[in-house]
């Protein structure tokens, strides 16, 4: 018995020591010393050594009285949004600048979490790509400053395909003509936001629209939608799409293509440098990029991604924060640093003229003027989920396509009310 008594005493003592030793440090609120700004942004590039850190350092050199530091959020956009929402809902002043995914503008603005940027609107509008600028507005007001962008590209195996296809039908013809050893096309077909992005690229390239400019009217065309959905459904059943299509997100699609299991891929620009570095990949040295095809072969449409910087309405340093977000959107050095140091596409239109040497950036320079953002409505999350739930089963042959597009139409109309 003595033994276990001693055991218990030891346990109790160590418990007390442990409890007393909780490391002290900044609490969750984050004390901002003097004029220090906190930039809540996540992802790989926000890590120490990443390009966002370099941008922050550049600002700090030029503005030593209002330095900015990065509060690192997780990689996944959903987690970033959750962490920002928790802070903003309790009206905390811990974050001054928010790195927001382009589809969150409406939601954040509606909740009163953002400071309006109307007074710096002209400066920003002049410098930015129109699509990116649109994604930062809602209700006619500017709520965020574009920072970096993203657009979908068509990757293809240049050793298997001579000229990149300009229509979707051409693409599927080429894809299914292969010997069957290599899969056809891989995109983001799992049931998540990326699926809606891919579907919109088909829908928009067939001439469809979702809303009018200020989201007050639904312009959804069920016939065009049915055509786009039918195309995808046929592509799955004909084998134009590679087998892993309906469970693939960005990384799975990249792996398919990079391991040499697909001839075509729709993905964001980030894949380019990864394949270039991977000398063991069958695609290395044998691939190229092109604009996404459309249904009739004219032009190209791609869905916009990327991040905008916004100022928290609860910040203690609103003026300095506004200066920063404007600077980050309009300063040539900072914006070109995004491209050259981090391969992150900038939103400043003039920067693309200087980047003609970089294959990815020059292609983006061609595509971005026509790239469309998803509607910045506060209800976009709800709409997206409804679209996923209606269209995903239809594309996979489980429900009727006509019913599915009708469902999407009612969801859109419900959002407008």
């Amino acid at each position: 018995m003595r033994k276990s008594t001693r055991w218990l005493v030891v346990g109790g003592a160590s418990a007390l020591i442990v409890a007393a030793c909780t490391p002290a440090g900044d609490d969750g609120g984050g004390e901002t010393a003097g004029g220090e700004l906190v930039w809540a942004i996540g992802g790989a590039e926000a890590q120490p050594g990443g390009v966002h850190q370099q941008v922050a350092e550049l600002w700090n050199e030029e503005n030593p009285e209002t330095p900015i530091r990065i509060e690192l959020l997780p990689e996944a956009a959903d987690q970033q949004r959750e962490q920002q929402a928790l802070e903003l809902q309790s009206e905390g002043s811990g974050f001054d600048v928010l790195g927001m995914d382009v589809i969150w503008t409406g939601e954040y603005a509606e909740n009163g979490w953002l400071e309006s940027l109307e007074d710096v609107r002209d400066e920003i509008e002049e410098a930015s790509i129109p699509g990116a600028f649109e994604s930062a507005t809602w209700g006619g007001e500017l709520w965020a400053a574009p920072y970096n962008t993203n657009a979908g590209l068509l990757y293809y195996r240049s050793d298997l395909v001579d000229t990149p296809p300009t229509t979707w039908d051409q693409l599927c013809q080429t894809a299914t003509q292969g010997s069957g050893e290599i899969g056809g096309f891989i995109g983001q077909g799992a049931q998540y936001e990326g699926f809606v992005v891919n579907w919109l690229e088909y829908y928009w390239s067939a001439g469809g629209e979702l809303f009018n400019d200020d989201q007050s009217e639904v312009l959804f065309d069920t016939d065009i939608a049915a055509r786009a959905t039918q195309f995808m459904a046929d592509a799955i059943s004909d084998g134009c799409y590679a087998p892993g299509f309906n469970t693939a997100q960005e990384e799975e699609a990249r792996n398919e293509f990079q391991q040499g299991n697909a001839m075509f891929m729709r993905n964001w620009p980030y894949v380019y440098s990864l394949i270039e570095q991977d000398t063991a990949s069958p695609a290395n040295g044998n691939f190229d990029i092109a604009p996404l095809p459309t249904f009739d072969g004219d032009g190209t449409i791609s869905a916009l991604g990327g991040f905008n910087n916004a100022v928290s309405a609860f910040s203690d340093n609103i003026d300095a924060a506004k200066d920063f977000v404007t600077w980050a959107a309009t300063n040539e050095e900072a914006q070109s640093m995004l491209a050259t140091e981090g391969s992150v596409p900038p939103t400043m239109a003039s920067v693309y003229d200087q980047l003609a040497d970089d294959p990815v950036m020059s292609l983006l320079g061609e595509i971005l003027p026509d790239a469309k953002p998803r509607p910045p409505a506060p209800s976009w999350n709800e709409i997206s989920v409804e679209m996923q739930r209606a269209l995903f089963p239809a594309v996979n042959g489980q429900t009727d396509i006509q019913e599915a597009v009708e469902q999407v139409r009612s969801a859109l109309e419900g959002a407008v009310e």
Partner: protein, 313 residues
């Protein structure tokens, strides 16, 4: 006995308390309350108030995050008339029944094995526990990676070509159940192993002497005596399975009819926040799980009462 006995040699042992006065100490009844109080207080403070808060929230109507007004049971009616709720409920029940049944059988097998003495039993026991100690977030990613057609690990090991496990209804459910069974059978095994320790050797030995075979021993002696441990294991595995979230969210995202109740709740609390509706869904889930849990608790309560009086004769 309430009389105070003079100190004897035995009682000069150092770990005996100073002279006890049986009559003037706390009565057993009050003592019981004192013993239970810390637990109740801790649980009430931390766990009870958020539950009440959520239930109250569920009575109001919201548009996204803005409160619109009192809705009474409106959210509940909306939830119960939504097909999506019933599909989620169906999947959750199917998942729970299959995975708990499999976990029980496998867990029992593991426990019986871990109970034996043989060379390498320490390592075996550690090996059996490994699936359970792996953090769920990693285990979910791992099983996604293994089942998914890209890179197709399971497909290549079993030569299945391009079989799309996660991309079709039915098989997607199977994959999730498989991953859950792999991960939590050790938990059941652990509880049953501890339970096996409370079965005195003499009973099994005398049964063997009487000529009972292995299966008879298992069925007629071991299992009945193991009943309390089995009920606790089943109870907690069931309520956990009814709340499955991580595996579903990472492996399929709820596609192909694999949306569980927790995934549905999560959507309305976090993804497309509607505090009223989300809380209503949570409360409905809670009521369901509590109801099922009650069945086990009643059975367990009887066992505990019986256990006290019979002991291990």
């Amino acid at each position: 006995m309430t009389r105070v006995r003079p100190a004897t040699a035995d009682e000069t042992r150092s770990d005996v308390a100073p002279p006890r006065r049986r009559g003037s100490g706390l009565s057993e009844r009050a003592l019981a309350r004192v013993f239970v109080a810390p637990s109740l207080i801790l649980m009430a403070l931390v766990a009870l108030f958020p539950v009440l808060y959520a239930v109250v929230l569920s009575l109001f109507e919201y548009t996204r995050r803005e409160r619109q007004g009192f809705a009474g049971l409106g959210n509940y009616v909306a939830a119960l008339s939504d097909d999506r709720f019933w599909s989620a409920l169906w999947f959750t029940i199917v998942f729970t029944v299959t995975s708990v049944a499999a976990e029980f059988v496998i867990g029992l097998g593991f426990a019986l094995l871990m109970n034996q003495t043989f060379r390498g039993r320490g390592i075996t026991r550690a090996a059996i526990l490994i699936p359970w100690v792996i953090p769920t977030v990693i285990a979910a990613q791992m099983w996604f990676f293994m089942f998914n057609v890209t890179p197709g690990f399971i497909n290549s090991v079993f030569g299945l070509g391009d079989f799309n496990w996660l991309g079709q209804p039915g098989w997607a459910t199977f994959a999730i159940v498989f991953a859950d069974v792999w991960k939590t059978a050790p938990f059941v095994a652990l509880l049953l192993l501890a339970g096996l320790q409370t079965i005195p050797v003499e009973i099994t030995e005398s049964a063997m002497v009487d000529g009972a075979g292995r299966w008879q021993r298992l069925w007629y002696i071991t299992l009945p005596l193991l009943r309390p441990a089995i009920l606790v294991a089943l109870l907690f595995r069931t309520v956990d399975a009814l709340r499955v979230y991580d595996l579903v969210a990472v492996m399929t995202g709820g596609a192909f009819d694999t949306e569980s109740l927790s995934v549905l709740v999560q959507q309305y609390v976090v993804r497309t926040p509607d505090p009223g509706y989300g809380s209503a869904l949570s409360t409905l889930t809670f009521i369901l799980i509590l109801g099922i849990g009650l069945v086990f608790v009643r059975a367990l309560g009887r066992d505990i009462a019986i256990g006290r009086t019979e002991g291990a004769r």
